[in-house]
Subunit: 244 residues, 2 copies
């Protein structure tokens, strides 16, 4: 399934012991609708408060489903208004929402004026920012592959290698800014740590060289403070042609 959600009200994508998650909402609705217990698996996790403009999840059933449009329609009626299922479609048995994905593209949105309507879906950052300096530092991200410095210390992963093939700030209407970053994979908290550190560069408190030193340090303590979840969107998930 392809879906979108506003993460503000959730403790993230993944089911947690004592939290309200997007995954649990969807599993609950799907299980009620299909009258059988169904587990779903997403392309990746998003943290509390992080949004998904586009997320994918798969589930396995003993028999193919008829009338996927009708099921999509009733799921949307059952689900809360901040989770929208865009479509449900059949895939091959080996296709996997997480393991088949070849890229993840995130956007981080910054508003420069207080906006009463976008405070939950952006980060209102009122101080001056040098976008050119932030873009110079962002270029460095294309030249490295070990991102331990931008991974939350307790992340239980085998390695910290990520291949970033896009990292740039683009202006929006008004003085708003969006950071676009795409990689084969991201570590836990990585985009928010990168954005928080680039905002230091944008404020003239760090040079491109110092930004590169942080990457080379392979130590989370070297990086800046993580930017708030409200501005972060999982924007696109890439799969090999023919899957989605």
């Amino acid at each position: 399934m392809e879906l979108a959600y506003c993460g503000t009200q959730y403790h993230g994508w993944q089911i947690q012991a004592n939290g309200h998650s997007v995954q649990s909402e969807i599993e609950g609705a799907l299980s009620r609708r299909l009258r059988q217990p169904v587990s779903i698996l997403g392309s990746g996790r998003t943290d509390a408060g992080v949004h998904a403009h586009e997320q994918y999840a798969h589930f396995d059933l003993p028999e193919p489903l008829d009338d996927l449009e009708q099921i999509t329609y009733s799921l949307n009626a059952m689900l809360p208004p901040d989770i929208a299922i865009r479509r449900i479609f059949p895939v091959q048995p080996d296709d996997h929402a997480r393991f088949s994905a070849i890229s993840r593209y995130y956007q981080y949105r910054i508003t420069r004026q207080k906006d009463a309507f976008r405070h939950m879906q952006s980060y209102y950052f009122r101080y001056p920012l040098d976008m050119e300096a932030m873009n110079q530092a962002a270029c460095v991200l294309l030249q490295h592959t070990d991102y331990q410095s931008f991974s939350r210390a307790k992340a239980a992963v085998k390695h910290f290698h990520c291949t970033i093939d896009r990292a740039e700030w683009l202006p929006e209407t008004g003085d708003d800014l969006t950071f676009h970053i795409r990689a084969n994979r991201f570590l836990w908290g990585m985009v928010r740590a990168i954005v928080g550190t680039l905002l230091e560069v944008g404020q003239g408190r760090m040079t491109t060289e110092e930004f590169e030193q942080i990457i080379l340090a392979r130590d989370r303590r070297a990086a800046g403070r993580a930017a708030p979840a409200s501005g972060l969107f999982l924007y696109e998930v890439g799969y090999p042609e023919g899957i989605v």
Copy 2:
């Protein structure tokens, strides 16, 4: 002052005995900032959950204020993220946010696909709508002036005369629709009652003639159900040249 707010979390503009209002938030912040009790008066009230893309309010002080930009900045820092003060500017002693206003322009926004990010700022209406039929009926609104049928029964007003000079549905991106309506004044609940009744027309359950009969009936019970507050925005307030 010119301001905007997302009305979702408020019991409306006006201060109420046991409710959280936009007016009370602003009066509280302004009084703290100016170290004196300050009351503000808006161009008009908005109901619980109704938004303002543009609202005006005035307040009186014994002495002129210096550094209005600095005051605006600190008010925005004190106020919740869903209320944004755009600017504070001096006016003549006789200028009045409500009595000087010559027009109010509202928008009512309808989304046709479930949108995880806009559910608090639109009305998700999934059934087919005939926009042309709704626009034909909307034209009738330019030909009448007594709108008792679209006023909440308990509204304590002297008369029900409103001069509507714009009333039309326009398409937005996707299949979304926005209703644009402007008048010298509106009665309590009027826009939402008009939209709710036009949605009956759009679904083929009412003709333009029946819509006109409702207006002529001068009876709120004749009209359709009010559309939800989430889709309604006070969009612009008109003043004679030179005031704002």
